[in-house]
């Protein structure tokens, strides 16, 4: 589950890094990408490319592992066997995605331990949407359907990118996410067409989650610049606005079809341009939440930090015998 939000803020693309690159190697690298070839871990790549990819894949990994928390909390409360089993499997998938993604990022030279350290110290970000709370079962259903749907839009685009290990991880992730989306849609249909109490729960969830959902794809293209080179290198495959438009086009009709309303009276498709029009999201709130002041930022990181601390003895034990001379093959 991942949005395009915070990855490409302009300050992160430091073209200074390009000055030292060998022009011939750079030209060959760009020609390979132009021809549609994938870049593999041991291939030559510009430092800026490596830096941006580590940043992007790592943030994606963090989003999966933090995204497991707001939904995971509903596993123990899921109503009925069918939902309980499906949600367990879904959240397990998300943790598995983190494993795949950290693995892909590790191919670029940053260890998983360092990435997790940067996550829990707040140095590295994750998808903003998980800083909002899931008050009810319907909130978790909204995430399973629509946040995952948004993630698929973003991830399908990125899967066509230039870095081989990331693309392959995304192919697997998207296949699993498509099941999450079906599960989430099924849950939402049941609530939206259920008893008055269930319909009310679902509508309230849509009302709560619409603004974070619009933020999910990141600031308007008008506000984010300096990404041309990342587009050229096929690191960034679609703009924030393109992803947002695609999501609205695919899912707003499906939400309306269920008799749910969306809390934006300006939301409509312009028949002439084919574009969706909507009230400009509150980007000040977006920035505030990304910078740590959202409703759940502290809680999410605290949970992750506690998990790391409680599990530290296991990781120490696993590496105990790989240090020094007394290495003993693991028992199995």
């Amino acid at each position: 589950m991942y949005g395009g939000g915070q990855v490409f803020d302009s300050s992160s693309v430091n073209n200074e890094l390009l000055k030292d690159e060998d022009p011939q190697k750079l030209a060959e690298f760009e020609a390979r990408i132009e021809r549609g070839e994938k870049i593999e871990p041991n291939d030559w790549m510009p430092k800026l490319y490596r830096k941006q990819l580590v940043r992007m894949i790592e943030q994606h990994g963090h989003s999966e592992i933090i995204g497991a928390l707001p939904e995971g909390t509903w596993i123990t409360r899921a109503p009925g066997f069918k939902r309980k089993l499906a949600l367990m499997a879904k959240v397990q998938d998300e943790v598995g995605h983190a494993q795949l993604l950290y693995g892909a990022a590790e191919t670029l030279g940053k260890s998983r331990e360092q990435m997790i350290e940067d996550l829990i110290t707040g140095k590295s970000k994750y998808s903003n949407i998980f800083n909002y709370p899931t008050f009810t079962w319907a909130d978790s259903c909204f995430i399973s359907w629509l946040v995952d749907a948004g993630a698929i839009v973003n991830q399908l685009a990125n899967a066509r990118g230039s870095y081989g290990p990331y693309c392959r991880a995304l192919d697997r992730i998207c296949a699993e996410e498509s099941f999450h989306l079906k599960y989430g849609h099924h849950c939402v249909i049941h609530l939206a067409t259920g008893t008055p109490k269930q319909r009310e729960m679902m509508q309230e969830a849509v009302n709560r989650w619409w603004a974070p959902m619009m933020h999910f794809f990141g600031p308007s293209d008008k506000m984010s610049t300096h990404t041309q080179i990342l587009t050229k290198w096929k690191v960034k495959m679609a703009t924030n606005d393109e992803c947002r438009q695609q999501f609205l086009d695919m899912y707003v009709p499906k939400i309306w079809e269920l008799g749910l309303t969306i809390p934006d009276e300006n939301l409509k498709k312009n028949k002439e341009t084919g574009e969706w029009e909507f009230t400009e999201p509150d980007w000040e709130e977006f920035k505030r939440v990304i910078n740590g002041d959202g409703p759940c930022n502290k809680e999410r990181l605290a949970v992750r930090r506690t998990a790391e601390e409680r599990g530290a003895w296991v990781r120490r034990a696993l590496t105990a015998k790989t240090k020094g001379e007394e290495y003993v093959a693991p028992l199995a």
Binding site: I65, A68, L69, G72, W74, I75, T76, R77, A78, P79, G80, F81, R83, K84, L85, M88, A89, V91, Q92, E94, V95, G96, A98, Q99, Y102, R112, W137, C187, H190, L191, G194, T195, K197, Q198, V303, T306, A307, R310, G311, A312, W313, V314, R315, R316, A317, L318, A320, K321, P330, L331, A332
Partner: protein
Amino acid sequence: MTEEALKDLLYKIADDLLILGHRNSEWTGVGPLLEEDIAFSSMAQDKVGQSLAFYDLLHQLGEQEPDTVAFTRNAEQFHNSQFVELPIGEYDFSLIRHFLYDHADYIRFSMLAECPIEEVAQIARKLKGEIKYHVMHANTWIKQLASANEEAHDRLQNSLNEALPYALGMFEPSKFENAIVEAGVYPGEQAVEDQWKENIAIVLEEAGLNLPKWNTLEPVFGGRYGTHTKHLQPLVEEMSEVFRVDPTADW
């Protein structure tokens, strides 16, 4: 043997699986490392799925729908051992419980696979295949961690000491024990317990963990008769929180 006796046996098995699966799912997203997070979560799903197989069979025998049975009873109506309802604690406790429980379940299902009641035997044969992997997982971790360093060894030893009296509670004989054994459904809990003691002793010795003398331990009984720790009722309430909003609704 009466149908009541068979149902009692099936409820014990199903409730153990559901409650332990529920407990182990609490590790999802907060496990000690990603690989183990995924493994624990996967085994928790197996357990909940396995419990459903038994609730389905109970439903065929005239009991209520699995969702109703699982999500509307109160703690005292559950027949699980107190062992499985204890909180997950630290990972060392959850791992030791997983080890002790799955060894017992593997033996029980191996025996039930030979059950003359074909519906029971069929489920047992299928689940035995899943539990085999749970046992392998537990054995591997116990051996690797206990022999890794003093910290891990001591944690596992302490959790083992804490868990064993409760683990013995898994074998609490039911009021139908004799009838079940006489009818040849399976050799009974005493037989499971005897085999279990042998099997776990082998692994624990390899791991360098000490097994106390059995006669120094007092089994914690009561669960099979609806007597539970203070931890079960909150678990049941949490599990049914959404379902109870409207038990007649389709969720």
